[in-house]
């Protein structure tokens, strides 16, 4: 039985990697400036360099694909953790308001430090590296607020959790809007991107900023993912297994807030990936979290690259923020889950 699950797991993983490659291929060859496969391969492998192709691929499309992939991985994993610890299949960092909290903190940060995203000198590097940290603080504040409001007699009420998320979302949204309107026109532009959930101004600096967070926290939640299996049991049974439930839950929650914040600080608020990816993953490889976690990460990456591709090509020459594409796909799925879930 175990052998079968693991072979299904490896098969799924390879299919997903293939899917991501196909999505990336579509993404990299299409756009305002179409390129042939050969052009892309030649440029990537440095066989024949052409400064025009170099610019398009290395400065615009590749960082964007990489960031979409990384953000998808982060949100996919964070979604698994949140759904696991709340035991609520409808939990998603966007719906719960963690995105909004992190986003507001990033906007506050931009407001006070007025970073110039284009220049890459030392001080701006430092401040860009600080952004996920600020996002983390905001995300944590949001998470604390949500849980303190949703906690009733010591346990989490699922529906209250989502409702509180709705309120937190509009509260932080209003705060971000208020601050962004006080900014200079240039900063407002970048703040607007954070609020809409978009990655069109991706660059390598952003990818580097989120990478350490993703690596450290990603590995951490993956290693701890077996705990999520236990959390599905009744409270009493877990305690009898000798696990410090509340402590472990808190650590996992903070890790997932960290993942979300790193994602939000580069791409803004993108909802529903953290909702969809874990569900699809469970459909594919069953309920064991050590399998669900990596599969969900890859599904998140694939979905987001695909959504970004849709957003940039279908609506050309204008671009639709990837967050909106994801909502249009994600909301029917959310409603479907709501119909299926027990009352």
């Amino acid at each position: 039985m175990r052998k079968k699950t693991s072979s299904v797991f490896f098969l799924t993983m390879s299919m997903l990697v293939l899917l991501i490659l196909v999505a990336s291929y579509l993404h990299i060859t299409n756009g305002v400036f179409d390129m042939s496969v050969m052009d892309v391969i030649k440029t990537l492998l440095r066989i024949e360099s052409n400064s025009k192709f170099d610019l398009v691929i290395f400065e615009f499309r590749l960082p964007r694909i990489v960031i979409a992939g990384l953000v998808g991985i982060g949100l996919g994993m964070a979604g698994v953790v949140l759904q696991g610890i709340t035991r609520n299949g409808l939990a998603d960092p966007g719906i719960l308001g963690i995105n909004a909290g992190a986003g507001a903190a990033v906007v506050i940060f931009m407001f006070f430090f007025q970073l110039k995203l284009v220049s890459a000198d030392m001080s701006s590097w430092l401040s860009i590296l600080m952004m996920p940290l600020f996002g983390f603080i905001g995300g944590t504040i949001a998470a604390v607020l949500i849980f303190s409001f949703a906690l009733k007699n010591g346990h989490l009420d699922m529906q209250r959790l989502i409702l509180t998320g709705i309120a937190i979302n509009s509260g932080f949204g209003a705060l971000s809007l208020f601050l962004s309107l006080k900014m200079s026109a240039q900063d407002f532009e970048s703040a607007a991107i954070w609020m809409a959930g978009s990655i069109y101004n991706a660059n390598w600096i952003f990818a580097l900023t989120m990478l350490p967070w993703l690596l450290i926290l990603g590995i951490y939640v993956h290693r701890k993912s077996y705990l999520l299996d236990y959390f599905q049991l009744e409270e009493d049974s877990i305690t009898s297994l000798g696990i410090a439930v509340e402590k472990e839950k808190m650590k996992l929650l903070l890790a997932s807030v960290g993942l979300v914040s790193a994602c939000v600080s580069v791409s803004g608020s993108i909802g529903f990936i953290g909702l969809m990816a874990p569900h699809i993953a469970k459909q594919l490889v069953g309920i064991q979290h050590r399998y669900v976690m990596p599969v969900s990460a890859l599904i998140g990456a694939g979905l987001l690259i695909l959504a970004d591709f849709i957003g940039k090509t279908v609506f050309a020459p204008s671009e639709l923020a990837v967050g909106i594409v994801v909502s249009i796909i994600g909301i029917p799925y959310f409603l479907y889950l709501l119909v299926k879930s027990k009352a």
Binding site: Q159, R160, L320, I324, L338
Partner: protein, 335 residues
């Protein structure tokens, strides 16, 4: 006289003064302060060459009038919705009504550009009906879907969906800016023509709401009691939803999406005047008007000389109130 009557009559008696006061403040203060005397002169002895008079006549007065009307409309719409659904979280902005309007307006701008204003209001109302129809339809399809919390979740999600689709359509047809000018809060640039048109539509809604007030009170007591008293529940629902559609459709057409007024004001009103919708509806109207006008004044003050979107102010009051409601009532029914 019962206590309810005294409270509601005193609210109705005091409110004209308070509303007049906040309206006067609203007209006097802004990016350019204008004295009360000039305001008076602009009304009595209008001088077209005087810039202050022009500002008052074309900018400030339409603005405050719009805010007062919309405040009243949204508050009454919220009260009616909470009454007939017996759902303490029912409100135009949570139940997809606002977003439905915006959605249909987007379609209209894309496919039938240049429609006259009154048709836009009608379409906006159609959109309200569509949004509410989808949310309640979906809610009644799923188990327990009409319970307060579930309905609020469904409403929010479907609202987000409609507005995402609207954004996508606007983007695709490259009319984002026109659309955004239509339904993002735009109290600072109220269209005079639209303002005048909104009065008959809004009044229709208010009258329908007042006419069904007694029936709403009975409905709000519970399905069984209402049936026992021989009430035609279906007819009541249809008429009162019609009122909601008129009121929110007009409000969105006039100033755009403003959240939380329709949620918070009915609760405050019920707290003050009790459970009788014959009193709740008129009192909610005046309290809502006062509240939104106050928010509008504050929106110009908090970040002087820049204006803050009025939605930020309503959220400032609305979000904590919403959390309080969720905390207090949780999943139970009761409006």
């Amino acid at each position: 006289m019962k206590k309810t009557n005294i409270v509601s009559f005193s609210i109705l008696a005091v409110s004209p003064f308070l509303i007049a006061l906040v309206a006067l403040i609203s007209v006097m203060y802004g990016t350019k302060d204008i004295s009360a005397l000039t305001v008076w002169q602009s009304m009595t002895a209008f001088d077209p060459s005087n810039v202050d008079h022009q500002i008052i006549r074309t900018g400030r007065i339409p603005r405050v009038a719009a805010v007062l009307l919309v405040g009243a409309f949204l508050a009454v719409a919220g009260a009616v919705m909470q009454g007939i659904t017996r759902n303490y979280l029912a409100s135009p902005s949570l139940m997809g009504v606002n977003d439905g309007s915006a959605f249909v307006i987007t379609l209209a701008i894309v496919f039938f550009p240049g429609l006259p204003n009154y048709q836009m209001i009608l379409l906006s109302m159609l959109g309200s009906a569509l949004g509410a129809g989808i949310v309640f339809g979906f809610g009644s399809l799923i188990r327990n879907g009409l319970s307060p919390v579930r309905l609020a979740i469904i409403g929010t999600v479907i609202g987000t969906f409609l507005s995402s689709i609207a954004t996508a359509i606007a983007m695709y047809f490259q009319v984002s800016q026109t659309v955004s000018a239509w339904y993002n809060t735009k109290v600072h640039m109220v269209d005079m023509d639209m303002l005048i048109l909104s009065i008959p539509f809004g009044l229709t809604g208010l009258i329908l709401a007042l006419l069904s007030a007694k029936a709403i009170t009975i409905t709000s007591l519970g399905e069984d009691i209402a049936m026992g008293l021989g009430q035609k529940t279906k007819a009541v629902r249809i008429i009162s939803m019609l009122a909601v559609v008129c009121l929110t459709g007009t409000a969105v057409a006039l100033v755009g999406k403003i959240a939380f007024v329709g949620l918070v004001i009915p609760h405050i009103t019920r707290f003050l005047v009790g459970v009788d919708y014959r009193y709740i509806i008129p009192c909610a109207a005046v309290i809502g008007a006062f509240f939104l006008a106050l928010c509008d004044v504050l929106s110009r003050v908090v970040n002087y000389p820049f204006e803050t979107p009025i939605g930020v102010l309503t959220a400032l009051v609305g979000v904590p109130f919403f959390l309080y409601l969720v905390r207090k009532h949780g999943g139970e029914k009761r409006a």
